[in-house]
């Protein structure tokens, strides 16, 4: 069944099983591989994308429900906030293996778009759904604060 999507500002039509999780449509059908598979049960956050600006675990969202909504993946990040977050991540050398970081960055950008000056507790709440087995958490927190400071400089 053809499903019409808007991904990173572009209209895309995919012909897939409507139950297919958005993650696999993004990766296998649209070829956008920055979004990662980690658990398949919305526990790790590696698959986080934005749906109408809100973070969503794409591994557990059927693609049929995504029609008519604005989807953004790591490849489509372009806002001032997003650039500040990515820059802070690079400046602080947050990454280790890097596999979870697309999801971490998507969650962080969504947080800062909503709360430009988050507290540590805000960060805990917004980021607790994203697992990093390399435990880069310390630097993720610092990078979110750094991005926030840069945006208000």
């Amino acid at each position: 069944m053809p499903i019409e999507l808007n991904v990173n500002g572009q209209a895309r039509t995919v012909d897939v099983d409507p139950e297919t999780p958005l993650l696999w449509v993004i990766r296998d059908d649209l070829g956008l591989t920055g979004t990662k598979y980690g658990c398949g049960i919305a526990q790790c956050g590696a698959c986080t994308v934005h749906v109408d600006g809100e973070p969503l675990r794409s591994c557990s969202a059927p693609v049929a429900a995504m029609s008519g909504r604005q989807l953004t993946t790591i490849e489509g990040l372009s806002s001032r906030t997003a650039k500040a977050v990515q820059k802070a991540w690079v400046d602080l050398d947050v990454v280790q293996c890097g596999y979870c970081q697309s999801g971490q960055i998507m969650s962080a950008v969504a947080l800062l778009e909503k709360l430009p000056r988050p507290t540590d507790l805000d960060i805990d709440h917004a980021m607790a759904g994203n697992i990093c087995r390399c435990a880069t958490y310390h630097r993720i927190r610092a990078a979110i604060h750094a991005a926030s400071a840069q945006l208000h400089a």
């Binding site: 897939v16 099983d17 598979y37 980690g38 658990c39 980021m127 607790a128 697992i131 435990a135 880069t136």
Partner: protein, 749 residues
Amino acid sequence: MHALMQVLGQEEQAELARALGAVPATGARMSRRLVLQGAGAAGLVIGFGWLAPGSARAASPAVAGAALGPLEPNAFVRVGTDNLVTVICKHCEMGQGNTTGLASLVADELDADWSLVRTEYAPANVKLYANLAFGMQGTGGSSAIANSYLQYRSAGATARAMLVAAAAAQWQVPAGEIKTGKNLLSHASGKSATYGEMALAASRLPVPTQVELKTPAQFDFIGKDHASPRVDSSSKCNGTALFTIDVKLPGLLTAVIAWPPGFGARLVSFDATEARKVKGVTDVVQVPEGVAVVATGMWAALQGRKALKVQWDESAGATLDSEALLAQYRAQAAQPGANFARPPQTPPEPTAALKMIEAVYEFPFLAHAPMEPMNCVAWLHDGVLETWSGHQFPTFDQKLGSAAAGLPPDKMTLNTLVSGGSFGRRANVWSDFTVAAVNVAKAIGGRAPVRVQYTREDDTGGGLYRPMYVHAVKVGLDAHGRIAQWEHAIVGQSIMAGGPMAMMIKDGIDPTSVEGVLPSSYDLPMLQGQLHSPALAVKPLWWRSVGNTHTAYVMETMMDELALAAGKDPLAFRLALLGKNPRATAVLELAAHRAGWGKPQRAGLAQGIAVHESFGSVVAQVAEVSMKGGKVKVERVVCAIDCGVAVNPDVIRAQMEGCIGYGLSALFYSEIDIKDGRPVQRNFDTYRALRIHEMPKVEVHIVPSTVAPSGVGEPGLPPLGPAVANAVARLGGPRVRRLPFTRSALVAT
């Protein structure tokens, strides 16, 4: 099994086992092949047998942004006419930062401009790219920078010498008058040229057989904070870093495997009728691993596997139960085993006068659970095999992968990609993910390239665990509070038994089962050790810091109990036993000093301390732990490390942070239970991982050193558990002797 034994020669096995932590290094591990003579002295001149002249270009596919020659003095560096410097990395990047480290070593001696440095992975070629600590090509045992330190510096120095010689000839000036810096050659006369401009001329000169290396005072990158930031940050922040799961090839298929549901289960039969009806499923094939469902994409493959009917015979492992196994291990600990330290004295020493402290410790099976579940792409075509994966042990992956395809090893090309973590999982002498992909590629007749993708459940539930262990310890203190007797029994699977490194087991002792107890940083001549190594259907594997994952916990919590029993401060008690170990003493004192050890803490907060030596490095940590409503939280960890020369200080800090977080995850939450032969925890809902709000503040202090570099990726983990446990006890909490902490209800599940 027999074939596996032939994969490595005896010396290679020994080297590999040693480097992987079989023998906790005392800093001398590399000494056989790499002696850093006079590192602190002026102008270290070295000749080298390890800079094979072969070019990497022939065997390595073009990488975007990589320099295209022409100066390729050895297999580790290229300088292009475009002025780019490409460092060819023989080690696998799993997040530990070794590509940045290897590039820093080359860039420093080459006087390169860091912004013009690129990296790529070496192909499988043990002659060019062996780990000098292993004798095979592979990454593990926290050895990447340690074994490459002189090799990669020499590679950079050689390229620099040739560029200088070319400029000297062209400008008709003495080579000694030419200055280099940031990819630029210059002379007082005003002449200058970029490395790119001089690369062609340099490439026509003979490769020098010996070069002079910098003195530490001349370093521009090594030991300099933020001088050479990570090479992989940008690509990992914008989604372009290419992991195995991201490989795209024309016609690429995706396969998931119906793996045995329990340990020791055997396939009886399967019915693929419904599976084949799923749209997108192209093949359902039997492979040695189980039944593979091949499809045009991951979702179709998963739906196909769901529709597949498989009958398994689980009778062989049906009685396997981790709780029963623990009881069996506890009973075994009381029986005589293989001696791993001083044999028992006869007659036994009188214990009546001694104050006896006894404890039994229990450690669960642990899965590595790296963020990227195991995977590999295999393509059989035109009589050759190509694979793409996080090939951490290329030598094994090549030999076992090509054997599965029925091809000679030289008909297999490995494309090594970044790994989404490993923590030991991909350092695997069975090459399970590579062999599985090859088996599926073969089963579909090489019709198309195929990616075998493990689901999280496949990976976490598939064995290759840090084994379960029981320690039973009896220590006697004399009237002066000194250790007079130490009996130490360990029960748990041998990691090396049954594999290609079984020859490392001597007199029934697998060194990876006892490292950290023997040898230990402490002077404990009275220690008597007994080891039992039961065999199980669950495959064991090294897990970040290997035997030290459990031995450090036992030794360092026992030290606190003994200090308490002797009426001494835990720091002072340890220092008294470290009299012959000035390095560990210095690290422990540094951590204690920086943490303000001994100063009063606010109510509800306590410090715990631990020190441990592994992979040639010493790490001490002070954990500050609070307790509220019976639940503990680690607020801060102050960490000190001596790892020799700190090549990339910020990478070292990151590894300490990572070791602390990974270690805390296991300490608090991780265990794989086995019931009726099946693993109970298979995904992050039950195999809980540490999350951001549970991560403590971490403060890292690096001991300045001119000694050759030692390990960093693992040594930060062993002291974490005991430091936290010791703090919990000081807060009035229980002495935790069974892990994880969820077993004591000290943390919420």
